[in-house]
Each structure stands twice: as C-alpha cells, then as structure tokens.
Subunit: 251 residues, 2 copies
C-alpha cells in the first residue's frame, strides 16, 4: 500500500508521501514515491505515485526521458511542458503509453494495471495547481473548497483533513496536518510506513523550500505522534458522558 | 453504505449503527440495522448488519422464524440458541441458507452476495461475547487486546478507536468513542447518516440498559460533534510548527 497527500493552500503546496511498498506482508521494501522535476526560477513540480510499482517507475522514466508524441511528433520531457495543464496531459499520455506496452503481458498474468498520481506545482507566472491523475490518464484538479487530494490508502487520514484544512491554512500548518493524517494512516495500516518524504513549495518561489526525508525515530515526528495521541485522548475525555441510561453512581 | 461498531469492554457491550441505505446516491432510505433478541433475565443479544439489504433482512427473518436444521432437524430460533457460540453458528447457517436460495438469481443478475454482521451479547452465566460474522457464515471473536469490531465503511472511524478504546475503558466512554468514530465516518462518507441507533448492555445484567435512537438535531450528539471538531482543531494547533524550511518571519 501507499499513502500520499497533497495540500494546495493560499501560500503554497505541500506533499507528504510514505515509502513502503509491499508484495504481500512478507515482502516489504522502501521506495521513494515523491519525486521532483524542478528548474529553479522557472518551474517547480512534485509527483507522488501509488499503484503497481513497475507501472509507476515506467511512467516516471518516460517523463524523464521524454514521452513519444502522437503521429510521429518528437518526444516531450515533463520539464519541457509549457503549462501545468499540459504537463498533466503529458503524464496522462505517459500512462496510456505504458498501458499499451504492458497490456498483453498484464492480462496474461492477470495483473491489474493500477496507478494514481498526485501532480502539483507551478510554472512561471501561471497559478500553482494540484492534480490527481488516474489509471486511465484522466485527471481532476484540486479546488479551494477542499484544498487537498489523496492517493492510496486515503480513508484513515481523511477525517482530520476534512476538519482542519482550509485554503487559508498556513503553509506549515498544512504540512503539520498532512503529517497527522499520515500518522493516522500508519497506525491503522501496516502497508503504510516510515520513512516519509515531504516537500514544500511556496507560491511564486518556483523552487522547493523543503525537501526532506523523515526517518524513523526523528524527534519532531515522534513528538507529533505522541502529542496527537495524547490530544485525542484528552479531547474525548473532555466530552460529557452520554445522557442515555441510568445516571452514574455517585463516587 | 453502512457503518456499525461494537465495543466489548470490561463493564459491558456497546453497539452504534447508522440507518442509511442507498441504491445509488439518488435513492437513499432509512432502515434499522441494529436489532435485539432479548429475553430479559435470561439473555441479551444485539445484531447489527451491513451489506445487501435483501440478504440481511432475509437472514433476520430466518433468525426470528427459525433456521431449518440440517438433515431434517427442527428449525431453531436465535433466541433458543443455548450459547453465544452456538448462536453465532446459527447465524452462519442462516446466511448459508439465504445464499443457497438466492445464488442462481444473484448470479443471473450479477449481484454480489454480501453481508457482514456484528453479533454480541450474553446468555445466562456464560461470558459476554462479540462476533463479526462474514458472508461465508464464518466468524471471528473480539479480543481484549482490541476490544472492538466494525462492519461496513470502517476505515474513517478506526483511528480514534485504535487510540482511545481499551478493555478497561468505562462503558459510557466506550459509547462516547463509538459516537465519535461514527461522526468521523459520517463526515467523510455521505452513505453513512443519521439517525443512529445505540444500545448498551452491562455485563451480567442480561437486559438492555440503553436502547435509543439519536435523531438529527439531538442536542447531545450535536454538541459532541462540535466539541470533537473544536478539540481536533485545538489539538493540531497545539503541536509545534514543523522544524523544516526557513524559520518563520517575526511578526
């Protein structure tokens, strides 16, 4: 499994991704799922992946080497796409190309072709954008009403995002909530695990402000997990006893 | 969709179930999913259901009218089962019987035969028990290490259960956490909704202590939702800013 979340708030873009891949519970590895395609001062682009590892790696390689054009047009690299929308379209084309190559083999082996990607960033003067790209190569864009998108094992970590993230949320608060959302997911699904990759890009900066791997045992994240657990326990204790049933005996 | 949670703690058993059923988003109804089979002073039994409504209703009717025995033995009603284990087995038999009747029609219409049940309670002097019964009629039992079981849309509401419920948790705290878990689920999945049915049985009492429907607008639950949201917001605000990236500008 995998869990990645992208948050596009007023001040910029945050992505948080785990690194655990598994083929069964007895075959667990660490692979980077959060990638960057940057030309500082010109563009900043982040791409997080979930799904079949062979598919996601092939798509990434195509995006680095160049996705062949249709009708014999020259290949285009992701860093050459003129706008974020055309970059998302290019990623969709890369997915369809990998599918065309793998289709027969996957069907013969009864393997599901699965991939989903979070793609966000900014090119030049155009707005910062965040997309979720599906297996078919189609995609949706993040809105200011719900300024986050998730891929992979997304349900455990969604309640805190639904409650705590608004478009106006501070950039590093968004990172914090992303980490809390990741923590909730890791607690409930063994297929999502440390280390974590995080990235932050401030709107207009056209460069990464944070590009960091959180390893197991890192003090801040350990402290965040402890504080969050303690706060949840305190929060439910502070809610009054349900008024149903007999009144509790006096102590 | 559906979400039901059962909590078996030191002092007794709690169940919380929503009531929303839907065949598509444009066909939403309210159906009771939490049922009781009680003989006060002799036994208390709760049964919560998720899955195909026609299947769950047929299973419930069989359990009320009597599940035909194998090899021509007389039918047995759920309230006649001598132990909780044999009662769970009887429910499994009822599921297999409904499947045998519906199999051909479901296959012809390409409908999936799906049902899952939470079944908990106590008979006479035997221990209080809680089971999760699957579509195949097999079942697992709740343990003291993780003193809850869930059916239906279970992921959104699991992080709070993982953190806040222990076997030693007070009975009405368990109810409270069950309601918080339900709230998290309702916020993230429109297929789970009010009103809610709740039931509480104290260990050894052999009768329901609470049997209540929480309607939309009920003050306590509304207040719980507000308090929980406020506490979550306060909780993540109290966590320090992530130490990555440049220090924030002085204000």
């Amino acid at each position: 499994m995998t869990y990645c979340v992208g948050l596009l708030v007023e001040d910029g873009l945050v992505m948080v991704a785990d690194t655990r891949t598994n083929a069964g519970l007895d075959d667990i590895s660490t692979y980077r799922k959060l990638h960057h395609f940057n030309v500082p001062g010109e563009r900043v682009m982040m791409l997080a992946s979930a799904g079949n590892l062979s598919v996601t790696q092939s798509v990434l390689s195509l995006l680095s080497e160049g996705v062949p054009g249709e009708d014999g047009e020259p290949a285009t690299k992701l860093v050459e796409a003129p706008t974020m929308f055309q970059a998302a379209q290019l990623i969709g084309r890369a997915i369809r190309r990998v599918r065309a190559i793998e289709k027969a083999g996957f069907e013969a082996a009864q393997i599901r072709f699965s991939i989903s990607l979070l793609f966000g960033g900014q090119i030049g003067d155009e707005p910062m954008r965040l997309f979720l790209i599906y297996s078919a190569g189609n995609f949706i864009e993040c809105s200011t009403d719900a300024p986050f998108l998730q891929i992979g094992e997304h349900k455990y970590g969604k309640p805190i995002l639904d409650r705590a993230v608004k478009f106006e949320t501070d950039l590093y608060d968004a990172l914090k909530v992303g980490l809390v959302s990741m923590d909730s997911t890791m607690r409930s699904n063994l297929g999502v695990g440390l280390p974590l990759d995080i990235a932050v890009a401030r709107r207009g900066a056209l460069a990464l402000e944070v590009n960091h791997r959180i390893e197991a045992g890192e003090t801040y994240f350990h402290d965040l997990r402890e504080r969050w657990s303690a706060a949840l326990r305190a929060a439910h204790r502070a809610i009054p006893r349900p008024p149903y049933g007999p009144a509790p005996a006096a102590k």
